[in-house]
């Protein structure tokens, strides 16, 4: 005995219809109404729901695609950054190496130039010292000669008394008179 038999067996004959099952007409009308409703829902509601679902799906898919694209871009950027970091480190090393080389070259050149300048200054200073020594010597000799001349003139002038002066004048007259 199945459940339906039990249910049908429990039917009360005093009542016009089973307490559980509706009347046939009601079932028919209900079924028709249900069919109409479901048909209407299928015809008018389902496309809208389907479209909404499709739109939703497409939106989600688009967001997934965008996220994937963003991730790819981020990974690409990360790769570029890592590459750039590597390049920067390499460039830094190269620049430092160049700077070291240039510094060494400048230092070497500077030492060479300074050595040359020092040598030139020494040569020039030596020449100037020699010239100054010679000039001072010349000036000293000239000054000594001048002072000697002054001293000599003064000494001779002091030695020339009036009588000697007159003798010099007379000597001039005699010399000029005898020169013809």
């Amino acid at each position: 005995m199945n459940v339906l038999s039990i249910v049908l067996a429990a039917e009360d004959p005093s009542q016009s219809h089973h307490w559980l099952f509706p009347e046939i007409g009601e079932i028919i009308y209900g079924s028709i109404a249900s069919i109409v409703i479901f048909s209407a829902l299928y015809k008018f509601g389902w496309p809208a729901a389907k479209k909404a679902l499709e739109t939703r799906t497409a939106k989600i898919q688009q967001e997934i695609d965008e996220s994937a694209a963003a991730r790819r871009n981020a990974e690409s950027d990360a790769a570029n950054i890592r590459k750039a970091l590597g390049d920067i480190a390499s460039e830094r090393s190269r620049i430092l190496a160049d700077a070291d080389a240039q510094a060494a070259a400048i230092l070497s050149e500077g030492r060479t130039r300074i050595a040359a300048e020092v040598a030139e200054m020494e040569t020039r200073a030596t020449a100037e010292i020699a010239a100054a020594r010679s000039r001072i010597g010349d000036e000293l000799r000239a000054e000594i000669a001048r002072l000697s001349a002054v001293a000599t003139n003064d000494a001779v002038r002091a030695a020339l008394d009036d009588r000697t002066q007159q003798e010099l004048v007379d000597g001039f007259i005699s010399k000029v008179g005898a020169s013809r």
Binding site: A149, L160, L168, G171, I173, V176
Partner: protein
């Protein structure tokens, strides 16, 4: 310009001196004043200083020569100072001496001596130089201590140098 000025001054001075019959005296006094101007630095500064009023400088000339020199000499020297041409005094005086000498057919003989010469010595020197050069001379004696001793005589372009200074220079040049 200064050559023309000198000539103009000399002509004017000669005419004034001639008019006063004092050419010989004036040219001799101008010559001596010129030599004093050349050798005396304070006198040269005093007469050339343009910051000193002209009247004051002319006063110096009159004070210096007044009573000792001919009035014409004083006036002519004062004229040079007054016109601001006192720096031309040596050239003017020399040119005046030359002009006065040439009027008498004399050649100027400048005698530089370390000591003053007496008249007898001047005469003997003039005779000796005349005999040597064959010219009549107008002797101008300048006492010049730088000569030291002896005499330097200049007649025209000819120089007879028998000075101790020159002898010393010759000795020095040998060293």
């Amino acid at each position: 310009m200064s050559g023309q000025q000198i000539t103009a001054y000399v002509n004017a001075m000669f005419d004034v001196a001639s008019a006063n019959d004092a050419v010989a005296v004036v040219e001799d006094e101008m010559f001596r004043l010129a030599r004093a101007y050349e050798t005396n630095e304070p006198l040269r500064s005093a007469l050339s200083d343009s910051t000193v009023p002209v009247a004051r400088r002319q006063g110096i000339v009159e004070q210096l020569l007044g009573g000792k020199a001919h009035n014409v000499t004083v006036q002519l020297a004062s004229l040079l100072v007054g016109t601001g041409h006192v720096s031309l005094l040596p050239q003017v005086a020399d040119a005046l001496v030359k002009r006065a000498s040439s009027e008498k057919q004399l050649e100027v003989a400048e005698i530089r001596s370390a000591v003053a010469l007496n008249d007898a010595q001047k005469t003997r020197i003039a005779e000796a130089l005349s005999k040597t050069t064959g010219k009549k001379l107008n002797l101008k004696v300048v006492v010049d201590p730088t000569v030291i001793g002896g005499i330097v005589a200049t007649v025209g372009d000819e120089v007879i140098d028998d000075s101790v200074r020159t002898r010393l220079d010759q000795v020095k040049s040998r060293f």
